[in-house]
């Protein structure tokens, strides 16, 4: 019941908001506080789940199962393990922050905005907790709708183009996954006589190598678009740049992780043989993405775009770690997912605060802000360093583990990926320098207000988590260990078993 609450609370919150009469924005304040309260309550629920989570067990916990569409073997089947637990917590953690960030910038149709944010949160958590492929697909697709509206209604100038592109790209990928899901269920019925979308049952299916290849590709293209893996990334800069700040935070913080989560939860364990076959190719795309994203980020004049491309680069690391499919690699990938959620979410948040004040995001429009807004500068510094992967902050642990894991698998990738680490320091610090150091080049900037209390409330938790994740990595590595081990074992065992087969 607890796990159901984690996605039901925001959904019910959205329904309650729907009933709040808010003609001409008269009750905006009430709507804002109410939605914040709902997201905080959700966060509390996920914290309780984390507290009660048994880190030693690799099994799915908080499992709930009810028959839903029995004719098709579809169950309402949810549960979490160490892989999804922290992603759920991350989602619930970022949502109130994203909402807070919108208090200054979203002025019109606040009620609808909040409804879409809450619906989005519900769908995102739903994606992470679903263990039934049907349920998963429902949440996966349902999530597109609120995001589409968030970008399309409250975004910047090119918002419609970005929103439609986001929606169509993601859908085009996911419908092929739909066919593969149906194919899996059919294979299950061919093998056992009943349809099933139960992930745990499907894990045990023995699928012919040729079929695995097709299904793996269908699933992986859907996830690769979401990640986004080079060359499927072209929707991302548009969507990130055009989305309102809250949308960008969620997009970078959570949505991208669904791609890598999908690889880890579905593509690799369901089709281990195909995974072994395609992993080097995926890893190649990942390292291309790492370097490409970094190089493109370097030349961006727009801060938001820079951060967007840095995501392409950072997510490349995650995919590399997953492709390595060993303990270090996967744990690092998972850690990097969390760290990237916090630090890139933070970067979008801070860039959004600057752009709220100046209505521009061009780096050249800023300069010397250190003296004008020291607190924002400090926060930006912490998050920037975290994003680069400075030891002692959250980014380091993940990147280090990924490199370690990838090195044990295939050192060649590590060499190229290492280049990406250096480049990330270059573009992030260069941006920081241009924006915050030097003299104040534009007089409009001289009188910009520093962080307001509301903004403090959004920024401080992010910085704090960035530090905690850097200093006490075991706090986060511990719960994921058993489950990661289980996945790695499952994939490796399946691969060796099938390699021995005549």
């Amino acid at each position: 019941m607890l796990l159901t609450l984690s996605w039901l609370v925001p959904l019910l919150g959205a329904l309650v908001l729907l009933c709040v009469g808010n003609r001409d924005g008269r009750r905006d304040a009430l709507v804002r506080w109410l939605s914040l309260a709902v997201t905080l309550a959700t966060f509390a629920v996920t914290l309780v789940i984390w507290a009660r989570f048994d880190a030693a067990s690799p099994e799915f916990q908080f499992v709930e199962r009810h028959a839903w569409i029995p004719a098709f073997g579809i169950d309402y089947f949810i549960g979490i393990d160490g892989i999804s637990l922290l992603l759920v917590v991350l989602t619930a953690f970022l949502s109130p922050i994203a909402l807070l960030s919108s208090w200054g910038s979203i002025e019109r149709k606040v009620k609808e905005f909040s409804i879409f944010m809450l619906a989005l949160e519900a769908a995102m958590i739903g994606v992470f907790v679903s263990l039934d492929l049907f349920l998963f697909y429902v949440f996966w697709d349902a999530m597109l709708v609120p995001m589409y509206f968030l970008i399309g209604i409250w975004g910047y100038d090119q918002r419609i183009y970005a929103a439609v592109k986001f929606m169509l790209y993601t859908m085009a990928g996911s419908v092929l996954m739909l066919v593969a899901i149906l194919g899996l269920a059919y294979l299950h019925s061919a093998a056992t006589g009943t349809y099933s979308f139960d992930l745990l049952k499907l894990y045990t299916l023995d699928i012919a190598p040729q079929t695995q290849m097709w299904f793996f590709l269908a699933f992986t293209v859907a996830f690769a678009i979401k990640v986004p893996l080079f060359p499927f990334h072209t929707w991302l800069p548009d969507a990130h740049v055009q989305a309102p700040t809250a949308g960008s935070v969620i997009l970078a913080g959570v949505l991208l992780k669904m791609g890598t989560y999908g690889l880890l939860r579905f593509s690799f364990p369901l089709f281990p043989e195909a995974a072994a076959y395609f992993a080097p190719g995926l890893a190649l795309l990942a390292v291309i993405g790492i370097v490409y994203g970094a190089l493109v980020a370097m030349v961006q004049p727009d801060m938001k775009k820079l951060v967007a491309y840095s995501s392409v680069s950072h997510l490349g690391f995650v995919v590399l770690g997953i492709c390595a499919m060993n303990m270090q690699g996967v744990q690092g990938a998972l850690y990097q997912m969390l760290a990237h959620g916090v630090s890139t979410g933070g970067l979008f948040l801070l860039v959004g605060m600057l752009s709220d004040r100046r209505h521009t995001r061009l780096i050249s429009e800023f300069g010397g802000l250190k003296a004008v807004m020291p607190r924002l500068t400090a926060a930006f510094m912490i998050i920037t360093l975290a994003s680069i992967g400075l030891p002692g902050l959250n980014g380091f642990v993940g990147e280090f583990l990924i490199m370690l894991g990838a090195f044990r698998w295939d050192p060649r990738f590590v060499v190229v990926a290492g280049l990406g680490v250096i480049l990330s320091a270059v573009y992030m610090l260069w941006m920081f320098q241009r924006v915050y150091y030097g003299p104040v080049t534009h007089e409009e900037n001289a009188a910009l207000p520093d962080l307001r209390p509301r903004e403090w409330a959004a920024v401080v938790p992010l910085c704090a988590v960035a530090v905690v994740m850097g200093v006490f990595p075991t706090l986060f590595l511990k719960p994921m260990e058993a489950s990661v081990n289980a996945v790695v074992q499952r994939v490796q065992v399946a691969q060796t078993l099938r390699a021995e087969r005549p």
């Binding site: 839903w68 569409i69 029995p70 004719a71 098709f72 049907f134 697909y137 429902v138 949440f139 697709d141 349902a142 597109l144 709708v145 589409y148 509206f149 399309g152 209604i153 918002r159 419609i160 929103a163 439609v164 929606m167 169509l168 859908m171 085009a172 419908v175 092929l176 739909l178 066919v179 149906l182 194919g183 269920a185 059919y186 019925s189 349809y195």
Partner: protein
């Protein structure tokens, strides 16, 4: 030879009586007097629905040519729902546009009676007469705005091509009769089963002609030419009625004839229907993208939806048959509601059915915009809507029958279709209204119908199990 009871025709009888009552009331109406003619129709429809429910599981046969099996009754109930919603939407439109209420409601009811007959007919002759009843009524309904030259053109085109397709259908019946010596489906079925190995080319001729006739009625590509013009020219509420009712009835008869009588020859017709389905899905969506008139866009969209239904027919397994039924229901409710919104936004002076007329609808009519959005999402097959479950069902049928190619075409075309459905959403939500033209007020009855449809769409999307079971039961007794 035939059971003497008339049980199986009672639903159709109720609707016909209601139509006669409407005609009678209209004839004796004093000039200027307002009569609740739509209400009379509703009474008939409700009576028909009750009788259909009572007939459930009884497999009643009347006159040897009509069977009220569960399959037919399921479609009958869908058709009654379609007619009910149509009448509820019409109340506003008839008054606003000054349509002749008596003729209008009587024709809607006659068409419904024809549809019901078509769905339950067990004899090709009756299928044909039923087809003509519904067609004649719908031709007139298409041109019910006599003073609108576009409507008249649409009606005329529809009439000519409809007559043309009827000829094909009739020719097919003639060949079937020549071969089997009967038009009764059960007897034809026995004959066909015995001849399944004979390789008689005349059977294929009969099959092909019937296929063409049905393909016209469900507007499958390349027999769809009449659809966009007819759908665009007709009043929106009539378009909603015919894009759902006619399609459902024709599909029911199509499925009945091809899945039972010509089942032994599925090896011959399945590849043809495969091609029809693929062409229909692709053309319907691709051409739909280029439309700027909402009615025309939805016309192409409904062509494409016919293609999805054909996928279920090709798959022809238990899943596919039940999927057709579920999809018919989901599609009927959704499409009808979408056309309902279009109809309710029109005024006597302007149809307001161009895409640009929807700019900023969110600000002037937030409720209608939201309802329309749900319809469009359902048509696009996004969860949690009925359209999503319908597509899921259809494509699982295709996959489990091994038609991966068709499933892939289907899902990709639904992405393309989402593109044009989103254009409407973009207009409603993300574009500002150039000039503040307040849309006309919406009557309570029409609004209730809309809200009920949307509730049904979402309910079917979240808890489809009862209806899925119902659909599965419906096909269990036959085929």
């Amino acid at each position: 030879m035939f059971s003497s009871g008339i049980d199986a025709v009672v639903p159709m009888l109720c609707v016909t009586l209601a139509a006669l009552a409407v005609m009678g009331a209209e004839a004796f109406r004093a000039r200027g007097e307002q009569l609740p003619l739509g209400g009379l129709g509703v009474v008939g429809l409700v009576g028909a629905a009750i009788s259909a429910v009572l007939l459930w599981n009884r497999n009643a046969v009347s006159f040897g040519v009509v069977v009220a099996d569960n399959f037919g009754l399921f479609v009958t109930l869908v058709l009654l729902l379609v007619a009910l919603l149509t009448i509820m939407f019409s109340s506003t439109v008839v008054r606003r546009d000054g349509l002749p209420a008596g003729e209008y409601y009587a024709l809607v009811l006659f068409a419904t009676a024809g549809m019901i007959m078509m769905a339950t007919a067990n004899d090709l002759l009756v299928v044909f007469i039923a087809l003509e009843i519904l067609s004649i009524a719908v031709y007139v309904l298409t041109g019910i705005r006599r003073d609108d030259s576009r409507a008249i053109e649409a009606a005329f085109k529809y009439f000519l091509l409809g007559a043309f397709s009827s000829a094909f259908f009739l020719y097919g019946i003639a060949f079937t009769y020549g071969l089997a010596g009967s038009t009764r489906l059960d007897r034809v079925g026995t004959y066909m089963a015995a001849q399944s190995m004979s390789g008689n080319p005349l059977i294929l001729v009969a099959l092909g002609l019937l296929l063409v006739g049905f393909a016209f009625k469900i507007s499958a590509v390349p027999f769809h030419m009449w659809t966009p013009d007819a759908y665009e020219g007709a009043p929106a509420v009539v378009t909603g009625f015919m894009s759902t009712g006619v399609k459902a009835a024709a599909f029911a008869a199509f499925a009945r004839v091809f899945l039972s009588v010509f089942e032994p020859f599925s090896g011959e017709w399945a590849p043809l229907v495969w091609l029809l389905a693929a062409a229909t899905m692709i053309l319907g969506t691709v051409v739909g993208v280029a439309q700027s008139n909402l009615k025309r866009m939805l016309a192409y969209s409904s062509i494409a939806h016919g293609g999805y239904l054909l996928v279920g027919l090709v798959a022809a397994n238990q899943v596919g048959k039940a999927a057709i039924l579920f999809y018919l229901l989901a599609y009927a409710v959704t499409n009808l509601a979408a056309f309902g919104v279009i109809a309710l936004l029109g005024t006597r002076e302007a149809a307001n059915d161009e895409l640009r007329d929807y700019a900023g609808l969110w600000h002037t009519r937030p409720a209608l915009a939201a309802l329309m959005t749900v319809c469009l999402l359902s048509l696009g097959g996004l969860p949690p809507t009925a359209g999503f479950i319908g597509k899921w069902y259809i494509f699982s049928a295709a996959v489990s029958a091994g038609y991966y190619g068709l499933a892939v075409i289907g899902v990709l075309t639904s992405v393309v279709s989402v593109f044009f459905y989103l254009r409407v959403v973009v207009m409603m939500y993300m574009t500002d209204r150039p000039a503040a033209i307040a849309p006309p007020p919406v009557s309570a009855v029409a609004m209730a119908a809309l809200v009920a449809s949307i509730a049904a769409i979402i309910a079917l999307g979240i808890l489809p199990t009862p209806v899925l079971d119902f659909a599965a039961q419906s096909i269990a007794t036959i085929f």
